[in-house]
Symmetry: C3
Subunit: 346 residues, 3 copies
């Protein structure tokens, strides 16, 4: 695709300093861009590349303009400019329509004329597939489920019974939505299964990563708000509510019935135990374990981080005596106070 620089500037919301008629073929990193390609500077760490890049134009912050003599697309957030420009050059195009002959579609399913049901996929009873939906190869859409307009299931995705996916969602390969929640009552040492009767309901513009799992609710629904982004291998348990525009990096786990308000972020391998409430604007760094509700927006952390094994051994042994050490410290403080008072008495 060829776009003119002036058109790109208008579309991404940048101020153009240069020739609007220049033709651009794609976007690439500074060090690799050709004379037909646009590039961007999103971190001053890479500012050195501005001198050597062959890019015909660069998206950058006004503060960096002085360091580049070529065509500039000036924006307060060049990374956002990159995102928008890349989408201009690489729009998703739904090229196929209809039902692949190898797919299995139940006669009671409703499939929009311009949707695509890929090879070896299974669409079961009473499913509703809206217009422009893409169901990739090997997917299962179980009975009663609904996939909203423009949404895409990339491949080998499983939507279990009665799952609802909103519009313009992307569900990556291997993701499972609507598996049973982990609900058991204990009957004298034996686990009795509690039927999981709720659904998974996913809003619009949600992206769900590869092999991520979202369980159906026990009695109520598990809810994923509009605009939520979940990375790969994330686990969302039954009855969880994830608020709008939350983002969770890979391997985050959220236990049952926890409610997360909008605009929270969770770094990789973070975890949240069950039945908590997390206020909007909470940000947890990688590997943070949240065991109490968070009532105040902010940044939270908990992990201990890598050290030489030899040092770590000694420190982690002392972690197990930490309370004891603090008691010793207290006794020392008291003793010093006594000594000090004795001194003064003398």
């Amino acid at each position: 695709m060829v776009l003119q620089l002036g058109e790109i500037a208008a579309q991404i919301g940048a101020q153009l300093q240069g020739d609007p008629d220049v033709e651009v073929e794609d976007i690439a990193p500074l060090h690799r861009a050709t004379a037909q390609q646009l590039s961007f500077l999103s971190s001053s760490k890479f500012a050195d590349h501005l001198q050597s890049t062959a890019a015909i134009a660069v998206i950058l912050h006004p503060d960096q303009q002085a360091h580049f003599s070529g065509n500039c697309l000036l924006m307060a957030d060049p990374y956002l400019g990159y995102a928008r420009a890349a989408a201009l050059f690489h729009p998703f195009e739904q090229k196929q329509q209809g039902i692949h002959p190898s797919a299995t579609v139940d006669p009671t399913a409703t499939i929009a004329a311009d949707a695509w049901i890929g090879p070896q996929s299974v669409v079961m009873a009473n499913v509703e597939i809206e217009p422009s939906v893409y169901i990739g190869p090997g997917c299962v859409v179980a009975s009663g489920s609904k996939v909203g307009r423009n949404s895409r299931l990339m491949g080998n995705v499983s939507l279990m019974e009665d799952t609802v996916v909103g519009e313009s969602c992307i569900i990556h390969a291997g993701a499972v939505l609507g598996s049973d929640g982990f609900g058991f009552a204990n009957d004298g040492g034996k686990w009795i299964k509690i039927p999981q009767l709720g659904r998974v309901v996913v809003g619009d513009r949600v992206e769900i990563g590869a092999n991520t799992t979202i369980d159906r609710g026990a009695l109520e629904d598990t809810l994923i708000g509009d605009g939520v982004k979940l990375d790969n291998l994330v686990h969302i348990a039954h009855n969880v509510q994830v608020g709008e525009d939350c983002a969770m990096a890979a391997m985050v786990g959220v236990a049952g019935s926890t409610k997360i308000a909008p605009n929270c972020t969770f770094g990789g391998q973070a975890g949240v135990v069950g039945h908590l409430e997390i206020v909007a604007g909470t940000h947890c760094t990688a590997r943070t374990l949240v065991t109490h509700s968070i009532h105040k927006a902010g940044v939270y952390s908990s992990a201990t981080t890598a050290d030489e094994n030899r040092k770590w051994r000694r420190n982690s042994v002392q972690f197990k005596k930490l309370n004891e050490s603090v008691q010793r410290l207290r006794r020392v403080e008291q003793k010093i106070k006594q000594l000090d008072e004795r001194e003064e008495d003398e």
Copy 2:
């Protein structure tokens, strides 16, 4: 389904205080139950709802009876009552029998007449599928595997060669049983694969979560005992033994050859390193890392938990000097002892 209250009481083992002839249509949470529905109070946290619920009857603990004027089903464990009542209203029904025309079934496989092999599934050579088994859409049952009576593979499940699944098991979508264990010998920096010749053998009444993986043994089998419940994205390595009625929440990992005795529980993201033995009745809270065998039943923990990032930064820096700080504390104690003795000498 409509059931009479007296019948429900008898089936779930509750003492009825009220009208046995009342007709009940389903079970629902207190705040949402209609006048045709049963509800339950499993935590005193929700006792306020007793006043306002429209439920025609409530399962509750005898201590709570005074707070509810309607029909009561009294039980020491109302949560167990809820589990049993929900199962009464929502029994699993195997509605389909036979082999879907889109499935691929090897002629050497033995399939019980009333089992169901779902669309796009693959059943390979010498597989044995017992009566009332449900193989959902997109599943793979590799050669030599066996699925016991009443068990269900929900969709896109992979049972690799020679896997044995007992009776009345539920294996959720995306789970993989029988993948190769992670076994390599190091040959001058290069990894040499060790053929994984054992199997995965799963007992009866086991539930395995979505996208969970259980590796086959190296020379012996990986064993999952009767009644075990594994949540989503759990990893069980080769040669592990998980004892009867153990339960593992999502994202738990157990490394190779570890033996876990019956009736243990593991919170989400817990981990157990290889070649350990864990005694019966061990309970690990979320994110616990077990690096030594556990010989005494009880509750174990290890994680550090969320704090404001600003505070955490300072504390985690000190964690890396913890042993050093304890040495300082020791010197302080010695010095005080000296000072104290000097005082006394004077």
Copy 3:
């Protein structure tokens, strides 16, 4: 398969002490080996079994030879001998060739004559499948992908667009390669997707575990070096580079753009944050969280480990006051210094 002991010794590089003409049928653990089977002693922990084993021959370290009176295969690394011998008895044999009639293969795909495309698999446009490749049941190989000679996709594997897999790789069930990286720009609270335009490129002799996910790069490729071994449920984010012969145990996560040099190992549940560089010969124990680049080869750790919950509670509370306690320690040290000086002044 029956092999003579002399032949085995030659093939595995062991020194034979005993009868080279003895016939051996398989390899088994010491306690279970029959008189037709070979065994091995890889840990002195099991040396007791040498007295009682029925094995016709044992691979062991020369130091252990005195404890076994039967046929010995002497090697400095008996575990490596076991790996090699097991591979002799259990070579992978590609028994099938061609395309199963239930598979869907795009006419533009190139499939080597002796490759196998398993039942219900999907091979899309312009895919290249080299000789002796095994594509198991239910796999998806999306358009533009290439699978190198002798490589095997075990079942329900997803290779997304343009993924490149080298020669002699094994990709276990449920793995996903080439899913979109987790790339978003934030536009006033809303996440804007960044098209993920790079690929996943996997070298030769790589093994990838069940339900592991490897994301495609944003602009450049995600690279997995020759000989890398990844266990189950591992996550490799976009633009990561994993150097040759690295090994990662289950549930390891590596965040975006991190570069890991050759010959590193990561224990289960370890994590590495994004944009780091890890030097060759780095070894991280289980659950280690790496938040800074590692410039010096060695062993690294970070986790706190299991303790009785009652003790852990007190210690983890003190972790949150650790910096404060160290300040108290500092004040105590100062006070002691004062007291000491005062003493001396007197």
